[in-house]
C-alpha cells in the first residue's frame, strides 16, 4: 500500500518535471510566434510578450507579397532536398553502420576508424570548395545540396549503437540458416533496428532541412535556394553588424532586419518540422523486437 502511494507521488513528480521543462522550451517559441504577429512599432517600444502586441499579419503579408514565389520555390527545394537527402543518407549510413558492427569482420575497426578520423580532422574549406566545384561539379546542382552530407559519422555511430542492441543470437541463427550479409542487413537488421532507423532518419531530415552551408558554398542559382539559406541571408546582416566589421565599409548602410521579420522567419522554418515530428513518433513503438522474433 505504501509503495503504491509512493509510486503515485513519484509519477506526479515526473509529470510535473517533464511538463515544466516542456513549458520552458515552448515559451520562446510562443514569444516568436507572438512577435511575428505584432506590429513592429509596438514590439520595438514594448518588447516581447506572450500575446501579440497589436495583432497584425502585416509581417507575413509583406514577406509573401514581395517574395511569395521565391519562398514557395525555396520551400519546395528544401522539401525535395530533405526527402532525397534523407533517403540516400539513411541507406548509405545504415549500410556502413552494419559493416562496423559485424562481429569477426577483419576490417571492422579499419572502417570504424576511417569514419571517425573525419570527425576530427578536416582540410578546411578551401580544398573542399575547389574539389566540389572544379572536380565534382556540384555547384548549382540539386546534388550539391545533399551529396556531401550523405554520411554523418555521428549518426552512423548512433545507428551502429542501435544495431548492437539487437540480440546477437538472432543474427547467428540467420547465419546458420545460410543468410548472407545483404540478406541479414535488409531483412533482419533494418526491420529490427527500426527505432534507430527512425531516429537517424529524423536527425538526417533535420540536418538537411536546417542546412544553409551547402547553399552558401555551392549555389548561386536562386532557383536552388533553400528556405534556410534565405533565412541565413537575413540573419547574416545581424551577424555582420554584430561583428563590428561593418565599420570598414564607411558608406554602407546595412539595416538590421525588423524584429518581426526575424521572428516570422523563425516560425516559418520551424513549423514544418513541428508538424512532421509527432507524425514520426508513431514509429517509436515499444516491443518491436519481441514481436519480430516470434514472427
Amino acid at each position: 500500500m505504501a509503495t503504491n502511494q509512493e509510486n503515485r507521488t513519484l509519477i506526479v513528480t515526473f509529470y510535473f518535471c517533464i511538463g515544466l521543462f516542456a513549458l520552458v522550451c515552448l515559451a520562446p517559441f510562443v514569444l516568436a510566434v507572438s512577435g511575428s504577429l505584432s506590429t513592429e512599432a509596438r514590439l520595438a517600444a514594448e518588447g516581447y510578450s506572450f500575446l501579440p502586441r497589436g495583432f497584425s499579419l502585416d509581417t507575413y503579408k509583406f514577406m509573401f507579397d514581395s517574395k511569395a514565389d521565391q519562398i514557395f520555390q525555396a520551400y519546395l527545394t528544401s522539401v525535395v532536398v530533405t526527402m532525397l537527402g534523407t533517403a540516400c543518407a539513411v541507406l548509405v549510413t545504415t549500410a556502413y553502420a552494419y559493416v562496423i558492427t559485424v562481429k569477426g569482420f577483419r576490417y571492422r575497426n579499419f572502417f570504424a576508424f576511417l569514419a571517425y578520423f573525419t570527425m576530427l580532422f578536416s582540410g578546411g574549406t578551401l580544398p573542399w570548395y575547389i574539389l566540389s566545384t572544379k572536380y565534382y561539379h556540384l555547384d548549382d546542382t540539386l546534388a550539391g545540396l545533399f551529396v556531401p552530407y550523405l554520411l554523418n559519422v555521428f549518426l552512423m555511430y548512433l545507428q551502429a549503437n542501435y544495431f548492437k542492441s539487437i540480440p546477437h543470437e538472432i543474427i547467428e541463427s540467420a547465419q546458420i540458416d545460410g543468410a548472407g550479409h545483404f540478406r541479414i542487413f535488409f531483412r533482419i537488421m533494418l526491420p529490427l533496428g527500426q527505432v534507430g532507423l527512425v531516429t537517424i532518419s529524423l536527425f538526417y531530415a533535420l540536418q538537411f532541412w536546417n542546412d544553409f552551408y551547402l547553399s552558401l558554398m555551392l549555389i548561386s542559382d536562386e532557383k536552388l535556394y533553400t528556405i534556410q539559406y534565405m533565412m541565413y541571408f537575413m540573419m547574416a546582416n545581424i551577424q555582420y553588424l554584430a561583428s563590428g566589421n561593418s565599420a570598414q565599409i564607411g558608406g554602407a548602410v546595412i539595416a538590421p532586419p525588423l524584429e518581426t521579420a526575424k521572428m516570422a522567419m523563425t516560425c516559418l522554418t520551424v513549423l514544418p518540422i513541428a508538424v512532421l515530428y509527432p507524425f514520426l513518433q508513431r514509429y517509436f513503438v515499444r516491443g518491436i523486437i519481441v514481436g519480430s522474433v516470434k514472427g
Binding site: 509503495t3 517533464i18 549500410a95 579499419f110 582540410g123 578546411g124 551529396v147 545581424i238 523563425t266
Partner: protein
C-alpha cells in the same frame, strides 16, 4: 594508425586471402558508398592540411605556395596566457555542457519511459525539440530582452519586488551558468530522443521479470533502465570528447554578443581566433588552430577509447 587497426582483429583460422575476400566482399560492398563519400568530401580535401604549414598565395595554389613551417601557429602560442585561457575556457565549457547535457537528456528519457500517457509524451517530446531549431541569434535576442539592465524582464521584476537591478552582462561567471542553461535548454530534447529511442528498443521481458521479483519503480529505473543506457552514454561521451577543444562560435556570438567584459570565461578558442586572426583577415592562422584543436581532441579520444575498451570491448569507437 590504420595499420594497427588492420592487424588487430584477425579471425582465428587462417583462410587464404582470396577466400576471405570472398566472404568479406558483401560487407565491402555495403561500406563502399560510405567510403566514397568519405574519400570525396573528407579525405581528398584533407590535402589542404598542408596549407597550415604554408603561406597561401593564388599563383602557387595549395601545393606551390611557399612553406611557412609553424609560423601560422605563432600568433596563438606566443601569447601563452591567452592561449591557456582560451584552451581552459573551451575545455571547461565543454565538460560542463557534456555533463549537464547527458544528465538532463538521460533523466528526461528515463522519466518519459515511465510515463504512460501517450498524448502527454507526444506533446512534451515535440515541444522539447523546438529549441533545437531556434538559431543562437534569436536565442540571444530573447535572452537579451530578459537580461537587459534597463528594460529587461528580470530586472523589471526585481524592481517590482524592490530589489536592486543586476548587471547580468558584466558578470563572466554568471554567464557560465547562463551558457550551460542555454545549452541544456537547446539540446536536452534532442539528446533525450537518442536515449528514448534506445529504451524503446529494449525487450519488455526484462521489466516483466523484475516486476515479478517485486522490484519497485525506482529499482526498475536504476537497476534496469539506466544500465541499459550505459553503452549509449559511453558512445555519445566518446564522440564528444573528440571535440573537447572545439567550441561553438555562433553560440557565444549570439548569446554574449562577444561582450568584452564577459571574455574572461567566454573567450573560447574559436572566439579568440575569430577576434584575432579572422578579424585581421589571416585565415591561414585560423586553420592552423583548427589543427591544434583536432590533434588535441584526437589524443584525448585515444585515451578515452582505451578506457572504454577496458569497460567493454564493444564500447570502443574503433
Amino acid at each position: 594508425m590504420s595499420d594497427e587497426a588492420l592487424q588487430r582483429p584477425r579471425p582465428a583460422g587462417r583462410k587464404s586471402r582470396l577466400q576471405s575476400l570472398r566472404n568479406d566482399s558483401p560487407l565491402l560492398l555495403l561500406a563502399l558508398p560510405g567510403v566514397i563519400v568519405l574519400i570525396l568530401f573528407a579525405y581528398l580535401p584533407m590535402s589542404g592540411l598542408i596549407l597550415v604549414f604554408k603561406n597561401y598565395n593564388y599563383n602557387g595554389g595549395i601545393f606551390g605556395s611557399p612553406w611557412a613551417g609553424f609560423d601560422n601557429f605563432d600568433f596563438f602560442f606566443s601569447s601563452m596566457d591567452s592561449a591557456i585561457r582560451a584552451t581552459r575556457n573551451t575545455v571547461m565549457l565543454n565538460v560542463l555542457y557534456m555533463l549537464s547535457g547527458t544528465i538532463f537528456s538521460v533523466a528526461i528519457a528515463v522519466i518519459l519511459n515511465e510515463l504512460r500517457s501517450k498524448s502527454f509524451i507526444k506533446i512534451t517530446q515535440s515541444v522539447m525539440f523546438f529549441p533545437y531549431f531556434i538559431s543562437w541569434i534569436v536565442i540571444g535576442a530573447i535572452l537579451f530582452s530578459l537580461l537587459d539592465f534597463d528594460k529587461g524582464l528580470i530586472n523589471r521584476l526585481f524592481g517590482t519586488f524592490g530589489m536592486a537591478p543586476v548587471d547580468w552582462y558584466s558578470d563572466p561567471w554568471m554567464f557560465v551558468v547562463i551558457l550551460v542553461a542555454a545549452n541544456i535548454w537547446k539540446s536536452a530534447g534532442y539528446g533525450a530522443i537518442i536515449y528514448y529511442a534506445v529504451l524503446q528498443g529494449i525487450d519488455t521481458a526484462y521489466y516483466e521479470a523484475a516486476r515479478i521479483d517485486g522490484a519497485s519503480r525506482i529499482q526498475l529505473m536504476t537497476r534496469i533502465t539506466l544500465p541499459l543506457l550505459i553503452p549509449s552514454i559511453i558512445l555519445l561521451s566518446l564522440l564528444s570528447i573528440g571535440g573537447m577543444l572545439k567550441g561553438d562560435l555562433s553560440m557565444i556570438m549570439g548569446v554574449t554578443f562577444l561582450n568584452p567584459l564577459l571574455l574572461p570565461t567566454t573567450d573560447i578558442i574559436d572566439v579568440y581566433v575569430y577576434r584575432t586572426a579572422i578579424r585581421s583577415g589571416e585565415f591561414g592562422f585560423a586553420s592552423a588552430i583548427t589543427l591544434y584543436q583536432s590533434v588535441f581532441g584526437f589524443l584525448l579520444v585515444l585515451v578515452a577509447n582505451k578506457l572504454a575498451g577496458w569497460y567493454d570491448k564493444e564500447s570502443k569507437l574503433f
